[in-house]
Amino acid sequence: MSKDVLVFIECKDSMPRKASLELLSAGRQIAAKFSSGLSAVLIGSGVKRAADVVNAYSDKTIVVDDEALTDYGWDTTSSVLQDIVKKYGPMIVLGTSSMTGKDLFPRLAVRFEAAMISDAVGFDFEGDGLKIKKPLYGGKVISWIAPGTDAMLMATFRPNSFAVSEPGQKGEIIEEQANIRKNPGIKVISFKKGESKKVDLQEADFIICGGRGMKAAEHFSLLEDIGDIMGGRVGASRTVVDSKWRDYDDQIGKSGKTVSPKLYIGCGISGALHHIMGMDTSKVIVAINKDPNAPIFQYADYGIVDDLFTVLPALKDELKESREES
């Protein structure tokens, strides 16, 4: 049986998300191993433009562009994706473990009796098969999970799990008509657009995160400045969110978001396990804390033991300079 790979692409502002390009890069390796094809599917309204980017990573880019798909709903999106999966018959369907991915994939997995593995961070091959790497217990344990050989695999991966490869030869773009099925039980009353942050916290390459040591909401402008210089985002510990210095959207940790940026800098954060669980898959971790015994230093690659209010302004200047040089 051929093991074709299909990647469900998510867009933001009509362009493919970086996390989706990462999946295509991973999908390419999987397809190469099984000598199979790699397809991408774009479902939404005004997504044709994104197809021209996606195209350079996949053999086939399937586009379902329909105004009725402007706002995501699991009912409409899954009906279209279901039809595409039926028609093209992939054995491996990949998505992002974003809010959308987590909402959509489980329903689809039921329809195909698929092996569903979510919130994964990597893969490898074992013999003739594929195995998926997934953290458990807040990252305390890593598990390797194999899908059954005859089963369709549906897997969602955390953003920043893979590097984006160089674009390759342009593949084919196929437009498909949608047969959209809406669930009659759900009526959307309103949709309030959030403040459009530059990048999503979970997708950001760079995160600077503030804890109780920041002392007050207004001091977060220091972190915002550094976030802007680095093209990244500001995160927060739960204490900070509970004190209403930052929104819950920004919370990193067990009861907030799980992030794995290239570089995470924690400022005035003690490093409670609940927080660590949300960030310890970051590539490089830096901690700035005035207490040399703060637990966060056990998880960090680099540490500065000092008052963050003196370190951060200097760090901002240094980062700015290094950015300007490169």
Binding site: P106, D119, L136, V141, P147, L263, I304, D306, E321
Partner: protein, 263 residues
Amino acid sequence: MNVLVFVKQVADTEARIIISSDQKSLEIENKYVVNFFDEFAVEEAIRVKEALKDVEITVCTFAPARATEALRTTIAMGADKAVRIDSSKFETDDPLIIARILAAYAKREGFDLILCGRQAMDDESANVGAMVAEFLNIPHVSQISRLSMLDPGRAEVENEIEGGKKVSEVALPALFTAQKGLNEPRVPLITGVMKAMKTEITVLDPASFETPFGAIDNGSSNIRVLSYELPAKRPSVRIIEGQTPRDKAKSLVKLLGDEAKVL
């Protein structure tokens, strides 16, 4: 109205987890709690009951006997009935199988409203809720941060989706998964704890009831855990030395560029 809440008992954050020497199994220190997000689900069910009065709350788990304690916690909070579907003959962590079993129970009993947590803290899979809804062919809304009951047989919920907040009106029966912020879970009162000690917990053998949504036996899972391992350990921290904060910041940025190569 009948409200069903799915709860999972999970290892506490502090519990020690030991990987067996053959890497095939885990030994978990006996420190278990009600899953963090499930507490919001239980609390919300109790608030629905307080608002509408004629409501019965059933809490259900698919778990071994140790989870009785978690069920008692939810009774102490204010749930009416607790059911444990015994998992001791099953080895599965497959969300599809767990959802088949939980959905079969829900179908058998019939419920107007089903609540569960956004995700379990142990497997972090966030699958079971939406899967149960799919099996039952009812709508679901993930990660709700507000719920109000409308008459008749409808609910209004708010949830966060990519790009913003959505308010939807949903016809019951429906399933909602609870996000932090939905409410503040109450701490059980002593009277609740006393009641919970006396409440009988129904134990069901999954083999004893019909499973209309597909096979649930040990061979039917499409996933298999090959091995467990510890996460790669980071080398111990390198503390940046320097006379002044500026020196330290300078050295850090240099190391991040030259050594860590992340700038």
